[in-house]
Symmetry: C2
Amino acid sequence: MSYERDNIRRLSAYTPGEQPKAADIIKLNTNENPYPPVKSIMDALSSIQGEHLRKYPPATAIEFREATAKVHSVQPDQVIATNGSDELLRLAITCYCEPNSDSKKKGALGLTDPTYSLYNVLADIHDALIVSIDLDDQYQMPTDLAEQWNRAGCTLAMIVNPHAPSGRVYEIDQLKMIATAFNGILIIDEAYADFADFNALDLVRENSGLNNVLISRTFSKGYSLAGLRFGYGIAPASIIDTLNKAKDSYNTDFISQKLATAAILAHDDVAKTWDLVKSERSRVENKLIGMGYHVFPSQTNFLLAIPPKDAPQAEAIYRQLAEQHIYIRHFSMANMRDKIRISIGTPEQNDTLLQAMKELK
Amino acid sequence: MSYERDNIRRLSAYTPGEQPKAADIIKLNTNENPYPPVKSIMDALSSIQGEHLRKYPPATAIEFREATAKVHSVQPDQVIATNGSDELLRLAITCYCEPNSDSKKKGALGLTDPTYSLYNVLADIHDALIVSIDLDDQYQMPTDLAEQWNRAGCTLAMIVNPHAPSGRVYEIDQLKMIATAFNGILIIDEAYADFADFNALDLVRENSGLNNVLISRTFSKGYSLAGLRFGYGIAPASIIDTLNKAKDSYNTDFISQKLATAAILAHDDVAKTWDLVKSERSRVENKLIGMGYHVFPSQTNFLLAIPPKDAPQAEAIYRQLAEQHIYIRHFSMANMRDKIRISIGTPEQNDTLLQAMKELK
């Protein structure tokens, strides 16, 4: 006899990219920053004492929120700290989507297809109805996206910008039009914004004219802290208040609060690694184009590419590279399986990758 | 216009104990271990390098699970690591309780009253029906507890053992009878088991004759790691498999996995602090009894006590002590407001508390 809910029984869990253990691998499959965390972050780690660990941490990460509010020119009550941005996304679904919503008129989750695949998993765990609207072959959104979501009863929607898995960016004006037309909370997931030319922070400021945008950020990509599990949301205080009701009491630990605070304050220093990544992104893109690949323009730290007709196809490339301990990403969904996704590494890693790609059989 | 679910709008969030900031306070309000984390835990912290933080952590904390399985004589697939035991409790509700369950015949959450107050909050976030069965004035459970839960359609139930907020312990035979009679998953929350004379681990072993018990553990109390946010569950593999489907992909970070592994391996060393706490618990209990208090027998690191008739009453005691920077806990619920709860501190802290209690006005 099993007692779990029907939707949990049916669930296929999210498949994260491989984390191979061998020491000599080149890992370009999960979009980590190839450069190590900056010194001030490691100094913050060295400063942790036993007494900090013995006691419960600050429940709402006030020091982090104050520092982050200052950096982004918002108020501390517009910021929530979370156990990775995964938790932020889950909290939003918990608060704004109705479980069993296939039987209701309100409370569905609006997505695009393709998008970050975790969104679907989180909705399925909650048993929320997913309303997934197709992007075109350049990953552009339809002009009536918000209206389609409205008609289907969505009260929450998620757009990842820059877009994953394509890397393309949507203009802020386009996002603002969608937020204005949408009858619900719009999450703009800026996991990759550190590598982009602009971000949507203006849409959560008090003078934005909007009150329904929630921006999601993470330290996993730009700040080289994927191992730390720390993300945050920025939104009007009314949205943050709601999310706070649903979070675990002490959702972030003392160490990650300290390191994330050091990280956000080291913003300018960390940005030097983003410039290195962007420069390499441009170089790798040009090399791939030279080899006949179709490469989608990217403002992230990865490139999505379609192999030329005379080369091995996407899954074969993934396999051949993995045999040489070079890991890139291949997705099995129908609209992704002809493509490969490559995280931008150090110049040396990228050279090794490009050389191996020239020698594919 | 607000878009959140009705149950979220109605929610009052869990109130954690105060975490006052002043340096000179005596903090006996949130049941932390008064002794610092042992040396091998701090050594594990010193060993963390930037490269560990740059990459995603092991998704299911395999090293921790292997170490813990060995210590508890179970299999690694019987263990799940979580972001504090709060996450474990939430995952169980997500998987086994139906949202909107007031309109259904199955999927309610079975509790006792009183119990750890977070359980009610987590159920309200999920919008699960709570079936709360009264304990008697010695915090004993009714003999037909499981039958009452069954009749009310509970598919998940939670017992904290040793019990909070009383500190009393339930015998394993009694828990086994409840698990046998209950038609659902029974969580035994052993947050305080490190300070007790026995635990319920036998009930999750393969030869137990049971397949519906999930034990919850935390490093926040016994291991002096409340700031780390790390807990775990032990259960038959079928229950762990279900919980794994609902957890965030990377729910625990690299640092906490390393420190928790060091902690569980330092079990015997840490146990010396538990002996000190137990010895002080006995001393403080006797002193309070000598001062006319009714003290409930405790196998935790706290004491629940009712002041004598000629002393100030519970809330006044709490306030007077707080003015002297000594923090104990007072709950406002009707069945708790005549009592105070005191975490056991170091001998010096306990002496200061007892002296202050003698001088109450």
